[in-house]
Point group: C2
Chain length 316, copies 2
């Protein structure tokens, strides 16, 4: 009989920390979310996560879990799970897998890139179910991704395959990227970059700490800078996805993350750029869809590292 | 005991047709090359190939072959092997696998993209031996490629994974590509595009039908337009390889094809662009090397479809 115990799933991003209990079939039983604290050190951030886990476990013993899967912003050392998320400066070479294992009294803990968890989720239980060649894209504080090719999650040389955010879309005149390069898709399409661009173009949001979500909302209400910002992001993503489609012969691209909720304002210019740059017969077959699992995808994918390890966890 | 019979290997490109006999260990026993005829129809081109095969077989029976592996310019329908090579207009949906099977009296025939054969060769017997994440790039009349990830040749949805030539490197001001898109690496770095660009910049070659090889030779002799043309190609390839490295977490990129013989004139600007756009720690680890097998790589890779089918041929 299959192990009926749920997994603890953890999703660590630059904007929020989430944790939940997920059933073997992929259903999220319960979950909690807190904003990712900023201006803290490594241990302060860990304590926030520790408290969140305590909250979600609600008195449950670690032994009553099938294991713990965790997605975290990249890059990281994989499979050892020392994480250095670009958008979480407090953690550099932070031994997340080791700390979670200690916290959970030695049960199985697996840590992977959050974007890889997204594609695992979408391939396991979402928009890519039954397809063999899937790119998952996460557009949020950063732009990440994960690849399933020929039916298997691709790790690459160091477990970092899927970094669609650092595909180059404007090498000459594009903005500098957090990675140090120029014109990466992430440098244009990440939420904070869009907000900064919109403010330089004259957008004056009501709140001082306005986000890309506010910008998308203003765009939906007809604000021309909001529309132009989503168009800018959509075009950058469309070009990067076109390059990935030609290189990897993809069937489905699922786009999730906070900004994906902008809808047609983002997806229409994305499609337009994608179609302009996928003209070979095979590449035209690709379809781009919003992530089917919505905001819980990160947790479902983290749980997939435990419940569908044969496809999504090549290490151990 | 392993089958000691050689394979017939065939390599079909926009510039030349090659065929040879290859031993099970990958050594090329004998081979012949003819220029790809232009201005011919599908059957005339087939007859040229047919005669080349007759020449290479030199009276040997098809039954004395382990099989026939064939690389051909993409795109193609795979594994059925109906080919529509961008740079060979005479063949559109030409049933190459079927025709070769008939010509060889029903022995095993496998047809794949020529660039995929290059990466198979480099992974099997060349620069990528012992590495699990390898991109092979072929720079010639077109720019093609093939991917080995996590130790396996990647097919993608339709056997077309590896099309590095259609990774976008200059979406705004780049030239139109044969595929219909704008700013693909191939549109800039393919031999004929470099020759046309150099002529527009004032290069006056001695021969009317000068090739990119002549242009590279002039560059090596100090002709500024020749130098600039190789720089242009190197930069485009470096950006495309950087994008592929971030997306696929590559260890080794092997660059072959006629233009790769330009040496540092091409590889120095390629490295410069690559390093400017691979700034994340994992991506910096990639190395770019000239294809180790040189001009015979296409034949060795075609033979790998027969002799190492477990890694390089997922169909049948």
């Amino acid at each position: 009989m299959a192990d009926p115990r749920p997994a603890l799933a953890v999703d660590i991003g630059g904007t929020k920390l989430a944790a939940g209990l997920v059933e073997p079939a992929g259903r999220v039983l319960s979950w909690s979310v807190v904003p990712t604290p900023s201006g803290v050190d490594a241990e302060q951030l860990w304590r926030t996560l520790d408290a969140l886990i305590t909250d979600v476990l609600a008195g449950r013993d670690a032994a009553d879990l099938a294991g713990c899967g965790c997605g975290c912003g990249g890059p990281m050392k994989w499979p050892s799970g020392e994480v250095s998320p670009l958008n979480i400066p407090a953690w550099r070479d932070f031994p997340l897998r080791k700390r979670l294992t200690e916290r959970l009294h030695g049960i199985t803990v697996r840590v992977h890139n959050d974007a890889i968890c997204l594609v695992a989720a979408e391939h396991w239980r979402g928009a890519g179910r039954g397809r063999d060649n899937v790119l998952g894209v996460v557009v949020s504080t950063g732009v990440g991704g994960g690849l399933v090719l020929d039916g298997r999650l691709i790790e690459g040389a160091s477990g970092n395959a899927g970094h669609i955010g650092h595909v180059v879309v404007d090498p000459d005149t594009g903005p500098l990227c957090g990675c140090g390069g120029r014109g990466c898709a992430e440098a244009i399409a990440r939420g904070p970059a869009l907000v900064a661009w919109a403010q330089a173009e004259g957008w004056r949001p009501e709140q001082a700490d306005a986000t890309a979500k506010d910008l998308a909302t203003d765009g939906a209400l007809g604000h021309p800078v909001g529309v132009a910002a989503m168009r800018r992001a959509g075009r950058a993503l469309g070009i990067a996805i076109a390059s990935a489609t030609c290189l990897c012969d993809l069937e489905v691209v699922s786009v999730g993350g906070g900004l994906s909720q902008a809808g047609p304002l983002l997806f229409d210019p994305l499609e337009e750029a994608l179609r302009a740059h996928t003209r070979l017969g095979f590449a035209r077959q690709v379809t781009v869809v919003p992530a089917a699992l919505g905001q819980s995808a990160g947790l479902v994918g983290a749980a997939a590292l435990i419940f569908a390890a044969d496809r999504y966890w090549a290490a151990d």
